[in-house]
Amino acid sequence: MKMARAAAIVLALFTFLGCSKESDSFKIGAVLSVTGPASFLGEPEKNTLLMLQDELNAKGGVEGRKVQIVIYDDESDVNKCVMAAKKLIENDKVAVVIGPSISGNTLAIAKFFAPAKIPLVSCSAAEKIVKPVDPWVFNTPQLDRHAVGKILMDAKKKGYAKLAILTVSDGFGQAGRAVLQELIPAQGLALVADEVFGPKDTDMSAQLTKIKGAAPDAIICWGTNPGPAVVARNRAQLGITTPLYMSHGVASKKFIELAGVSAEGLILPAGRLVAVSQVPDGNPQKALLTKYVADYTKKFGTAPSTFGGHAYDALMLVTEAVKMGKSFKPQDIRDNLEKIKAMPGTAGVYTMTPENHNGLDESAFVMVTIEKGEWKVVD
């Protein structure tokens, strides 16, 4: 008797949790690393999505339907990400999923989407996500390959022949390191030192001292905050004058704040978002970037980072695909995503094809330097 009642309560609870009210809104899922080590990616992404949701709905939604974004936090943890993705697919029955924020999590859940016939537009950059192409998986950030290409072009122009690399030992650093190890010799340059640091390390003097001993012409550091800021500070403290390149992973105001004066003169490839005012007027991204920066700054009190932009682009690509086909069916959204041509986004100008599910090229980056605490475009 008691058992039966308990069972009934449990059942009722689950049916209550299991069913969501049917509505005719356009339901988009997102799984982002809002907390945990990758929160510097997930938080601006979440903010951006919520801001855009309000904006789209204020204009009457997309193709006559309100946009409803269901956002789950995976805490930068792969198991939580898997469960969140399943929840979006199975319980929330979303039409498309945006995210995850980090490459490892994307690779872990990517395979769920072909059987579920729901497109995934990832906000993480690893090449493995879109190469080889999974028909149902897209990503929006600029690829590491393009960033490295930009840096090496600049290095060659300046006549640097011997390069040292200093990378962080997480997913971002590992991906960058692999591309650097491949492209530096391929471009006819010499890799004279290859050091790494942990994502939580607080002092990189040892690595820099070792690199100094190898006498490179330039150092390339690959990581996300706060590690590279420590590298910049240690470099200044050790009195090393060898030029230092950073990756696009630090292209946020926070980096300049943390590194302080030691950030002066560093060079890195970055999306145009960091220096909107210096983008020439004719550029197709100009209007959109200006508006995004203004809106975000107004709403959240800080300037947006390029990472938030990845979520912006993902959502805009999805709504564009919906508008193209005037259809909310996942299959149609997928098909139309592949047909997007020359669509400006925050990261660059997207041209998707069935073979290219990233849609950006090297022109998405500009080389910038840091001058008096501000970004300055140098090419």
């Binding site: 907390t35 080590p37 929160s39 510097f40 938080e43 030992s169 050091e195 790494v196 640091f197 942990g198 939580k200 607080t202 002092d203 003097s205 040892a206 690595q207 001292t209 070792k210 100094k212 001993g213 905050n225 706060p226 800021a229 420590v230 403290q237 050790l238 009195g239 926070k254 704040e257 943390l258 302080g260 004066v261």
Partner: protein
Amino acid sequence: MDQASLLQYLITGLTVGATYGLTALGFTIIFNTTGIINFAQGEFVMLGGMMSVFFMRALGLPEPLAIVLAVAGTTLIGALVERLAIRPVRDCPAINLVIITIGVSILIRGAAMLLWGKDTFALPAFSGAAPVAFFGAALMPQTLWVLAISLLILAGLKMFFSRSIHGKAMLACSFDPKAAALVGIGVDRMVLLSFMISALVGAVGGAILAPITLTSFDVGVMLGLKGFAACILGGLGNPFGAAAGGLILGVLESLGAGLISSAYKDALAFVILLALLFVRPSGLFGQKDGKRV
């Protein structure tokens, strides 16, 4: 390998090692009175740094005042942790108390994240950021501050435990709380005191290190881990051992990164630590019978 580089590795190692040593000191104080390992120790260090940043930025206070307030605030939090989470369940097995400190550390970390956000912050160096040349190696003034203040704390603790009546009473509690109570020592008060002192030491460490290492709500995890390793390396219960263990650990990592491989520097340090434990089961400076659980 030139001498200047070697010296640089040593200086770097000592600076990083001071971080571990200061965290380790906090572990030792609580361990000495209660016999438990306080997993929230790293959080005290984090609070010292983050509260200093907060008092400077939000309230616009000058740095020294901000640090004093941060240290006082953290000490108060240490007292609250003891009163609210530890004292009501003092009679539980040690492992339960350890799990409670894990829960407390999650709680403090979560609160810091909600209050101050997930960003990393820097605190200005106490006396300029220009390095001093020292036999061809660069030495930061802040490093000198850190080493000097660490030594001061260590000496203070040494005096406290060996000379003052309170310090001796705290040691007595760790040997046998019942016997200590019988001779008239207020065990409850001593435990409270130990939490306050270790929070204070942690917070001072967090504040003086923040200019070098930067700080964020989640720095406590790593510091806790390394601090615990430093304690064990030096021999649990011995403040001098804890500080020395921290410095040794820092130097090992730095030399490992410089001379062998930066990817495996942490692994190297731990391999040496394990090898040492297998030879000397109670750490470098621990008593022979390192049982005390």
